[in-house]
């Protein structure tokens, strides 16, 4: 699935955005299936707004976001759920885990929302890779941010997707853990021939990016 943006400008940031040059806002930009995109976004430029607009959590923008040949504004209800189950996966900056569920249950939930992409054993395998096996039975609300972030990463990889949207996915991780997580993400995207859009504050070399743009 190709993602295409046509003159997208978020309404609350309109003034600010029109004052400066952006490679993303208010332009026509196309992300082709399988491309790994890095978007560098200094604070306050609308990084999270951008991810939320792509994922259709926010609708307060002018212009159009296209998922393949569908205008995302016209996709609602069960069809929207279908896109989120099959085409788009996401790692939120604020993680968004269910605090009452255990770490494993949080991951499991995203695994069984649709016809499972992986067996349940895959959770243990990925948890092992990211070093969070010991907290799988713990309530997510009691885990540290670093642990929660790794749970959120594993959760996003449990489903099928064409695109993985990431909003500062390593913000709570040290270098070693970031390396492991990036390796896992790269692996999973390759397996699916999927692309990703990674939003971050600074430059980095976690991945072999196809394109780097500035927000």
């Amino acid at each position: 699935m190709q993602i295409r943006l046509q003159n997208v400008v978020p309404v609350p940031l309109r003034e600010k955005i029109l004052q400066r040059k952006s490679e993303v806002w208010n332009t026509n930009i196309v992300f082709d299936q399988g491309h790994w995109i890095k978007i560098k976004a200094p604070s306050g430029t609308g990084k999270t707004t951008f991810i939320h607009t792509l994922y259709k959590i926010r609708n307060d923008y002018s212009g159009d976001v296209w998922w393949g040949n569908q205008n995302s504004r016209e996709v609602t209800g069960d069809a929207l759920a279908q896109i989120r189950q099959q085409k788009l996966s996401i790692i939120f900056q604020d993680l968004r885990l269910f605090g009452e569920l255990t770490a494993r249950e949080n991951i499991e939930l995203n695994r069984v929302l649709q016809e499972p992409f992986y067996e349940g054993a895959m959770i243990d395998e990925m948890a092992e890779q990211l070093g969070v096996t010991h907290i799988l039975r713990q309530r997510a609300g009691l885990c540290s941010y670093g642990e929660q972030q790794r749970i959120a990463i594993i959760r996003s990889l449990m489903q099928p997707f064409d695109w993985l949207l990431m909003d500062e996915p390593f913000s709570h991780l040290d270098q070693e853990n970031t390396r492991k997580a990036a390796a896992l993400i790269a692996d999973e995207c390759s397996k699916r021939k999927a692309g990703f859009i990674l939003m971050d504050l600074d430059e980095d070399d976690h991945f072999n990016y196809f394109k780097r743009v500035e927000l």
Binding site: R84, F98, L101, N110
Partner: protein, 395 residues
């Protein structure tokens, strides 16, 4: 697995008492409604069932109430008879024609000396319940066939015969006796033969064929007033309160014994109606509480539902899950109350059958149909409420 996780996330709203209240309310409501349907069906069974049918009761002889106001004018006008024919409870109306000549009956035999003044009545053939090949008359007939009320024979056998020292007579013996029927005319007495061809409980007068009555009345009548004063009516349900009300309103009377059921029927109707209305009102309240309960649950899990939808849970999945959470309780209540009503019905059946009254041992199809209908209403209510609030939550 998904449902298990959802169950952990979307806990039923905290109001356990509310839930219990709704369950109890719905149970009582359903019990009342099912019982009302079942009682109605049972009562209809008792009234119209073949095993309980009483054919005599379905024929009512009706005449004007004779009192100071109607004295001397107790005849029925054509308009009154037409009106009676038009009523919904009326199946057929026949005019009873009285003889308008003086007559007597006596026996030929000396061994059985018998004499009495008599009057006849006749009624259209479809109201006669005696099948006899002799029930016909023309001027060439050897005798006049008559149908006597059983009451007459009983009166003779158990009173009159004792006082007169006469032998008792069976129906068959009476049918063999040829009587002498004397009719007083202005030109003297005309005698003919007569014979009883059958007995009936339906109409309590000595009946002769309509043809004879018309002929004799025309020839020997001493007054020309031909207005009828009594009619016989066939009805499905003599206990119909409408019928009793109508008769009362038009100053008409009939055998009160036959219409006595109407009073019970009215009571049953009232009880059934109260049960209906109470049940319906309670059902409404129970539905309201269930709706509120669903609303409360959904809104108390607002954040969880929002995140679920964000992660890709479809509204359909959530609705299906919530249906599974709430609807089975309703099905369970319907089944339990149906079971209770079935038990009660069996109990009623065993008690009534001891008194030779027969109702079905099981709940009627109507009750089951009502249960299905209510399940449908519950399903629709659940579904629309869940839809409404899940959709509302996403906005």
């Amino acid at each position: 697995m998904l449902n298990q996780l959802l169950r952990k996330l979307i806990r039923s709203a905290s109001g356990r008492t509310q839930w219990l209240l709704a369950v109890v309310g719905l149970s009582i409501a359903l019990l009342l409604i099912f019982a009302a349907v079942q009682v109605q069906v049972n009562y209809n069974d008792l009234l119209h069932g073949k095993t309980n049918q009483d054919s005599v009761a379905n024929f009512l002889v009706i005449n004007k109430l004779l009192n100071n106001q109607t004295y001397g004018n107790a005849t029925l006008s054509a308009a009154e008879i037409d009106d009676l024919k038009k009523q919904s409870f009326t199946e057929d109306v026949g005019i009873l024609t009285p003889s308008r000549f003086k007559a007597s009956v006596q026996s030929y035999s000396d061994r059985f000396p018998f004499y009495t003044d008599i009057s006849f009545e006749s009624v259209p053939a479809q109201f006669i319940d005696v099948n006899s090949k002799d029930w016909k008359w023309d001027e060439q007939s050897a005798f006049i066939p008559m149908i006597a009320p059983n009451m007459f024979l009983d009166f003779y056998n158990f009173q009159f015969s004792f006082s007169q020292n006469l032998p008792q007579l069976t129906q068959d013996v009476v049918k063999m006796i040829v009587f002498k029927v004397n009719i007083n005319t202005p030109n003297g007495v005309v005698s003919m033969n007569g014979r009883v061809v059958g007995f009936s409980d339906r109409i309590t007068s000595l009946l002769v064929p309509q043809e004879f009555m018309d002929w004799a009345n025309q020839r020997y009548s001493i007054n020309q007033d031909t207005k009828p004063s009594r009619v016989v009516m066939r009805t499905k349900d003599p206990g119909n309160p409408q019928l009793v009300e109508y008769l009362k309103g038009h100053n008409l009377v009939t055998d009160a014994d036959k219409t006595r059921f109407s009073k019970y029927r009215q009571i049953v109707n009232t009880v059934v109606n109260i049960s209906w209305i109470t049940g319906a009102v309670m059902l409404l309240f129970a539905l309201l509480i269930f709706t509120l309960f669903i609303q409360l649950t959904v809104s108390s899990c607002k954040d969880e539902i929002e995140l679920l939808v964000t992660l890709g849970a479809s509204p359909k999945q959530l609705q299906r899950f919530l249906m599974k959470q709430f609807f089975p309780a309703n099905v369970f209540i319907v089944l339990i109350t149906l079971l209770i009503v079935t038990g009660l019905q069996y109990w009623v059946y065993s008690i009534l059958s001891q008194q030779n009254m027969f109702v079905s041992a099981f709940t009627s199809y109507y009750t089951l149909l009502t249960a299905l209908l209510i399940l449908l209403v519950l399903w629709i209510t659940n579904r629309t409420t869940i839809r409404k609030y899940v959709v509302q939550q996403q906005k």
